[in-house]
Symmetry: C2
Amino acid sequence: MENENLRGLFQLLTRRFGLLNKNCCSADGIEISLVQSHILYEINRQNKASIQQIAETLGTDITTFSRQIQSLIKLNLVTKTPDAEDRRISILSLTDEGVKINQTIDQQMNDYLNEIFKTMNEFEKESVVRSLTLLNDRMLKSSVCCTTPWG
Amino acid sequence: MENENLRGLFQLLTRRFGLLNKNCCSADGIEISLVQSHILYEINRQNKASIQQIAETLGTDITTFSRQIQSLIKLNLVTKTPDAEDRRISILSLTDEGVKINQTIDQQMNDYLNEIFKTMNEFEKESVVRSLTLLNDRMLKSSVCCTTPWG
DNA sequence: CGACAATACTTGCAAATTACAACTTTTTTA
DNA sequence: TAAAAAAGTTGTAATTTGCAAGTATTGTCG
C-alpha cells in the first residue's frame, strides 16, 4: 500500500474538477474567472478576513491579490472595509451581488457533482464524501507543506 | 444525502493539492511551473499523443499550448516528431531529461501524499484510494461537462 | 515620549501567460 | 482536381503576475 500512484489520482481529479470549474461557472450575465470564483468562495468561507489572510490561503502573491480585489470591487462583487481597531487592515466581504454569484456558482457546481454522484449507490457516495472530508482534514493538519493558519 | 456541500469539498481539496504542487516541485536544478508539470505528466501518461490531444485534455487553447511546448522543447524536456502517416500532426514525447524530471516530481508528490496518508489507518487509506479512483472513473465517463476523448 | 522597526496594503514596471485572428502546410472530400 | 477541413504556428494585444519600492498605520524599545 506504500507505492500507490497517489499523485496520479490527485492530478486527474483536480484537473477534472478544474475543467468543470472553468467551463461551467458564470452567472447572472457576469463572466468571472476561475481565480475570481475561488476568491469569492474563500471570502465567503472565512468571515471578516483580511486581504492578507485570503491571499495567503489561496497562495497568491499579495500584490497580485490586491489587484484582483480591485477588479472584484469594480465588478461590485466585493467590498473592502477598514478594520476598526487596526486601520492598516482591510476586511473583505461580499456584496449582495457577490453573495448571489457565489451561490449561483455553488448551485451549478453542486448540480454537476450530484450528476456524477448519481452514478454511485448510496454506500459508495457516502464513502466518497467521507474520504474527501477525511483527506481535507488531514491535509489541513499536515505540517508537510502548503498550509496557512487559515486553512 | 442530496444537499452535501460537494463543491466545498472539491474546492478545498484541489486547492490544497494545487499548493502542494506549486511549492514543492522543481527538480534537478530546473524550475518548472505547475502548468509545465501537468504537461509533462500528461505527455507521459498518453503515449504518442499529438499536440492537439494534450492541449484538449488539459483544456488549454491550442495556440497557447503550442508555445508552451516550444518552451519545453527549449528546456530540452520534450520533443516533437512528425507523424509518419499524417504530416500535419506532431507527436509529443519526453526526452530522457523530461522523463527524469517527471519521475522526480512524481516521487516528491508521492512522498508528500504518503506523509499525509500516514496519519490514516489501513482501512481509511484504502477507502480513500478507492474513493478517488471511483470518482476519477465516474468523472471520466460523465457526459456532464469537461471530458475529452482522451480523458 | 519619540525614533525606528514592523505590518498591511498599494503602485511602477517589466516579464510571463493567454487567446483571438490570420497564416502555412497537409490531408480529406466531393 | 478544386474546395473544405484539420493540425500547427505566428502576429498582436490584453490580461495576469510578481518583484521592488512606495505610503500609511501600528508596535517596540531606549
